[in-house]
């Protein structure tokens, strides 16, 4: 299963599901099934990552991104 932390900068993905302790928070921030996300970049030290979707940018740690299962898609 692919999770969001495995997606490389510049790649697109579609959210399949969210789990883990902060799943509600993540869902509220817009990580819902079917949402198209784009990994904009990874911070200079390798963590966190910047995710862009529906017009805004979020920063999320890889540890938390691992709770978001996604499917890689082409733009």
């Amino acid at each position: 299963m692919t999770t969001l932390n495995m997606i490389k900068p510049g790649e697109h993905a579609v959210v399949c599901g969210v789990s883990g302790p902060i799943r509600r928070r993540l869902t509220e921030m817009g990580f819902v099934r079917g949402a198209c996300v784009y990994v904009r970049r990874v911070a200079p030290l390798g963590d966190p990552m910047e995710i862009r979707f529906s017009g805004y940018s979020l920063s999320i740690r890889k540890h938390e991104a691992a709770d978001i299962s996604v499917e890689r898609v082409s733009p």
Binding site: G17, V18, I22, R23, R24, R25, L26, T27, E28, M29, G30, V32, R33, A35, R40, R41, V42, A43, P44, L45, G46, D47, P48, E50, S54, G55, Y56, S57, L58, S59, I60, R61, E64
Partner: protein, 699 residues
């Protein structure tokens, strides 16, 4: 007839310009920033419209109304329990869909709603056009377009609030689809039936029904407050229904409901959109980000910007600082001349009050310029990037990326640094950060280092020693945080899901307001607290008066006035305390003189230097400078120990007051002073004893 005051709650996402709208409505000047979570306090203000008085409350900016953070809990409880007459929902028009998620929850609260499409100029410039009449019809609320930063649309907003508060128009509810929708209706009607007598829950039954299905923490108790004993049965029924739906959909209820809300937001956006914004790839904001968060250049640029901040703060402030210093000197001299008779009262005014308050006033340009820089960084959106860049490092230590900024400010002054921790959402993160801020060597310690380092170290070594001192502070801070994290502040640091807002041009007025607010706070502190401490310190260092004739003791020495002071200081309470604690500080290499000066340093760190020079005027026979005196009396090892102790121990009084104020906990402030002083004692003891044993730094 007494007119009713109408209550208005202002809600909205972080970065939606909510605070700007609040300021424009009420005219109270506050901080304007787009760093997430700045508005953590409850802010209130009043405004009038058509002869009616409105009482507005600026709620914390939230993305949702669940209780996953303190901010959200505050906002939710206010909306639920205070029954505002109108809810104003401030929405970033250029980000309508994501802002509409919160709107979907506000609609359920059963209060008249005014939807504010803020930053409509930006949305329009992106080519987006929304059908306001359609939004109003679909949601059942008033809709107003504004540009908060320019004050456009504010009078229309006031009128809309007035209309809304007198209409009985309850917004339309979110459609959760057949299955969940039916469950919500069933539970809502049960709540209505159970709360026949209490009208306050009337329009909130749908909201409660949704929350019951989501099984939000503590919701059963909240409901019991409205419906009494019936709550338990309703709660159980809701759980049964939720279980059924969850089984059917194969996903937890809270996720299903959140998805429906997002669906509602997306649907609404599609419905009311006349023309879509043109998404420009590689737009202004993104090109800046490509440079500022670049994999290689990001960190060096960050340090360059930090360096620029410090350069501006400490170099540009030199001239105004000299002016203030001159001004204070002039006042003291004028009093000296106009008040010829020597008296204790005169000494209190000049040596106690003016020099004490003056010593703090001198730092005003520093504070003002530092906050100018911080407000530019915050308002432009760079602060969120700092958190982004530094989070990995800070997370390793056990903190949050946002802790970095307050700690950097700590190198200037602990007082504003502690205020800056307000951006931290997690209380444990915040307490840990506040605790270690005094370990960031502040500007007031610099005079101590510049006194001691040149006395004991050769020219080439001086910068290195200074760096080492700063570095020791940082290392200790990391160690202390680690220690706190496994003891009193156990628990995860907050998750790092944070919005990176688009870059915005900071407004001049915003920066000036921010500077003024902070300077005012600082001056207020100088006028009240520092004044009080100065007076106390003056008493400690002036009383009791020497019983013998100081002139006799001074004998034939020259410079008799200074010697008189020194004799007085030795026989004062502070001098006696210094002598009394000598056995305790002896293992650190300190004598009564250093002890006395350290007591002074509690009021403000830099006082250590002036206290030392007064004390040594008594002993300094035939020597001209403090440097020579220090060299004669102490070893380099003692010099290092003094610097270490001043760095680690006894946060100054102003810092402690700020800690108490910002944490709301006297215990935490006491813990801070006791903990850090104990740490200082242990470290200094170890260094001194080690040096003694191995003969390092004795000459």
């Amino acid at each position: 007839m007494k007119k009713r005051i109408l209550k208005v709650a202002i809600a909205g996402n972080p970065n939606s310009g909510k605070t700007t709208i609040f300021n424009s409505l009420t005219g109270t000047r506050q901080k304007v920033a787009n760093y997430p979570g700045v508005t953590v306090e409850k802010k209130e203000g009043k405004f009038n419209c058509s002869g009616y008085e409105f009482h507005a409350v600026d709620l914390p900016g939230t993305y949702s109304l669940t209780v996953s953070s303190e901010d959200e809990r505050v906002a939710r409880d206010f909306l639920l329990e205070e029954n505002p007459d109108v809810i104003v929902d401030v929405v970033d028009a250029s980000n309508f869909e994501r802002n509409a998620y919160l709107t979907s929850q506000l609609l359920e609260l059963g209060r008249p709603l005014v939807l504010v499409l803020n930053m409509s100029d930006r949305a329009a410039s992106m080519g987006q056009k929304l059908d306001l009449a359609m939004i109003s019809e679909l949601l059942g609320c008033e809709v107003v377009e504004t540009v908060g930063s320019r004050g456009c649309g504010i009078s229309a907003l006031k009128e809309a609030i007035l209309r809304a508060s007198f209409s009985s128009r309850i917004p339309n509810a979110v459609d959760y689809g057949q299955e969940i929708g039916d469950a919500v209706s069933t539970i809502a009607s049960k709540i209505d039936a159970a709360s026949e007598k209490s009208s306050s829950v009337r329009h909130k039954s749908r909201w409660f029904a949704v929350k019951l299905l989501e099984a939000e923490r503590g919701i059963d108790e909240k409901l019991a407050g409205f419906t009494g004993s019936a709550a338990k049965g309703i709660y159980e029924e809701a759980r049964r229904m939720a279980d059924g739906i969850e089984g059917h959909h194969g996903a937890p209820m809270d996720i299903l409901i959140a998805e429906r809300r997002h669906g509602f937001a997306a649907g609404l956006y599609r419905e009311v959109q006349i023309s879509a914004p043109a998404y420009v790839k590689g737009g202004f904001s993104e090109s800046i980000d490509d440079i500022l968060t670049h994999r290689i250049f990001g960190i060096p640029l960050f340090f360059a910007i930090m360096y620029a901040v410090f350069y501006i703060t400490f170099t540009l402030s030199e001239f105004p600082m000299r002016l203030i210093e001159g001004g204070i000197g002039w006042i003291a001299e004028s009093i000296e001349i106009l008040w010829p008779a020597e008296s204790m009262l005169k000494s209190l005014v000049i040596d106690g009050m003016i020099s004490g308050v003056g010593g703090v006033m001198v730092f005003l340009p520093n504070i003002a310029l530092l906050f100018m820089c911080i407000s530019i960084l915050e308002d432009s959106g760079y602060m969120a990037r700092v958190a982004f860049i530094m989070d990995k490092l800070m997370h390793k230590i056990g903190l949050h990326g946002k802790s970095f900024i307050p700690m950097v400010i700590g190198f200037g002054c602990s007082v504003p640094a502690i205020v800056a921790t307000r951006t931290l959402e997690n209380r444990r993160d915040r307490l840990a950060t506040i605790f270690v801020i005094p370990l960031m060597s502040c500007g007031a310690r610099l005079p101590i280092y510049t006194l001691i380092i040149p006395a004991f170290f050769p020219e080439s070594w001086r910068p290195k020693v200074l760096w080492i001192i700063y570095f020791v502070g940082i290392v200790l801070a990391v160690a202390v945080i680690k220690l706190l994290r496994v003891s009193v502040l156990k628990g995860d640091s907050s998750p790092f899901v944070m919005e990176l807002p688009p870059y915005r041009m900071p407004t001049l007025s915003g920066i000036l307001i921010h500077m003024w607010e902070r300077s005012k706070l600082y001056l207020k502190k100088a006028g009240t607290l520092i004044l009080a401490v100065s007076i106390i310190m003056w008493f400690l260092t002036s009383y009791p008066r020497p019983v013998f004739n100081p002139a006799m003791e001074a004998g034939s020495r020259q410079d008799s006035e200074v010697i008189l002071q020194a004799v007085a200081l030795k026989s004062s309470i502070a001098g006696k305390i210094g002598a009394a604690i000598e056995p305790a500080i002896k293992p650190l290499g300190f004598d009564w003189r250093i002890g006395t000066a350290l007591i002074g340093a509690f009021a403000a760190k830099e006082v250590f230097v002036s206290q030392m020079s007064i004390i040594f005027s008594l002993e300094g026979e035939g020597v001209s400078s403090m440097t020579e005196v220090l060299q004669r009396f102490y070893s380099p090892l003692v010099g290092v120990c003094v610097m270490l102790f001043c760095l680690i121990g006894f946060p100054c009084f102003a810092t402690l007051v700020m800690t108490r104020k910002e944490t709301g906990s006297t215990k935490w402030a006491i813990f801070q002073v006791v903990g850090l002083t104990a740490l200082a004692y242990v470290v200094t003891f170890a260094v001194y004893q080690f040096g003694q044993a191995f003969g390092i730094g004795l000459i």
